[in-house]
Symmetry: none
Subunit: 234 residues, 2 copies
Amino acid sequence: MSVTVADPHRILVVDDEPNIVDVIAMALRFQGFAVESAADGQSAIAAVDAFRPQLIVLDVMLPDMDGFEVARRLGAANGAPPIIFLTARDAPEDKVRGLTIGGDDYMTKPFSLEELVARIRNILRRTGLEAPHSNVLVFEDLQLDEDAHEVTRAGEPVELTSTEYRLLRYFLLNPRRALTRDQILDHVWEYDFGGDGRVLETYVSYLRKKLGREGPQLIQTVRGVGYALRAPRP
Amino acid sequence: MSVTVADPHRILVVDDEPNIVDVIAMALRFQGFAVESAADGQSAIAAVDAFRPQLIVLDVMLPDMDGFEVARRLGAANGAPPIIFLTARDAPEDKVRGLTIGGDDYMTKPFSLEELVARIRNILRRTGLEAPHSNVLVFEDLQLDEDAHEVTRAGEPVELTSTEYRLLRYFLLNPRRALTRDQILDHVWEYDFGGDGRVLETYVSYLRKKLGREGPQLIQTVRGVGYALRAPRP
DNA sequence: GCTTCTTCTCAGAAATCTCACAGGTTCCTG
DNA sequence: CAGGAACCTGTGAGATTTCTGAGAAGAAGC
């Protein structure tokens, strides 16, 4: 994972649930972003002034005003930073329509942190703040095309479900690194996943099967820790 | 989606509803245009003087004078920019008819942003401000002619309704890419569409049927994500 | 004003996913 | 080498997603 050391991008996270803010802020800091937070519309607007974020992660439901109001007051039209709105899953969709065609985007809660990061990088790339890169992740003979949402091994297409895809993508973003179970669960599953952590084993098993039993086993078990994507020693 | 970097065209958006202006301005900026806005006729005329837009998106209903009045006053001076009028759906259309014979055009609210952008590019092309390009989108044996508004599959004409056409056009603009449900709804449906997102499934079903069940299925389901236009795996 | 076309909602069926569970296997440690 | 811990993977139930036909409401055309 590449971490920008020189000049980290500033991101403002606005949500009135401290738990959510914490978990998002933590994840983004780990990704090398500079993060500030606010718990309501007023302080969000103040924070934009003071902190000059390049991007805002903004909950739609705030105690004092809704997220769209915040966006309007920031002068959505004029040089304001792009916004990723967070909405409840069952929220009415009419107000968020049309956001993705503008510079903005939105996600429904709960989401996986990987996805939030992916969208943030997407927007930063679109706005020219981050260097564009190919959207194909590669490791050995494994390829994952993020645009087409397609995976191939040795040129052969591999059909993955959505969870399998997210899991493999996380491995490909962190090649050769031993990832702990908790890391993986935190990043790939939704942040409020409360189920049995052993799903992970099941999904690793699915992936191994689908990626082919013949070729070398790319997803290796690191006993007592978790898993790592790496080529086996010959 | 091509973004003009070198010398962006200037577009003035005039509407008294801030929400509308915001969403249009955002979308056009994202497309690489330079955008200014005005909320009434007076400031619109002033803005034309100061900003020298190459095109105006002008609401017909303004607080101080109607859009035609604005157009008339601007027209007095020669070489006024072409105008796209925005009218309410239930407005009398007689006044707007005949506009398309000049350089102007009109759209009824609400509209899809894709369509507004398409019309803007059309006008800029007609007035020689934007490089002409082929208006035929092609993917495999599928062809969509934007001028003639005609679609053929393997040479056979396919009769599409307007929504089906917009949907297919969006797929053809983003071949091989996995498009999320939200993306598609945002781009193809009107900006205030708040209905059931399952229309999309219905329309995909229509398209698949009309494009022929025999040939390979070009619109593929990407489970948990949305759809993609791509040749099926052999 | 009547007919036809279009758009959208709805609902049931089919397809597919996710996750928990449990028995078996592998690995480590003493 | 025994015992225990960690891990693997098949099975299946319940939930979710997707497909498609039918029909209501509205718009457009005649």
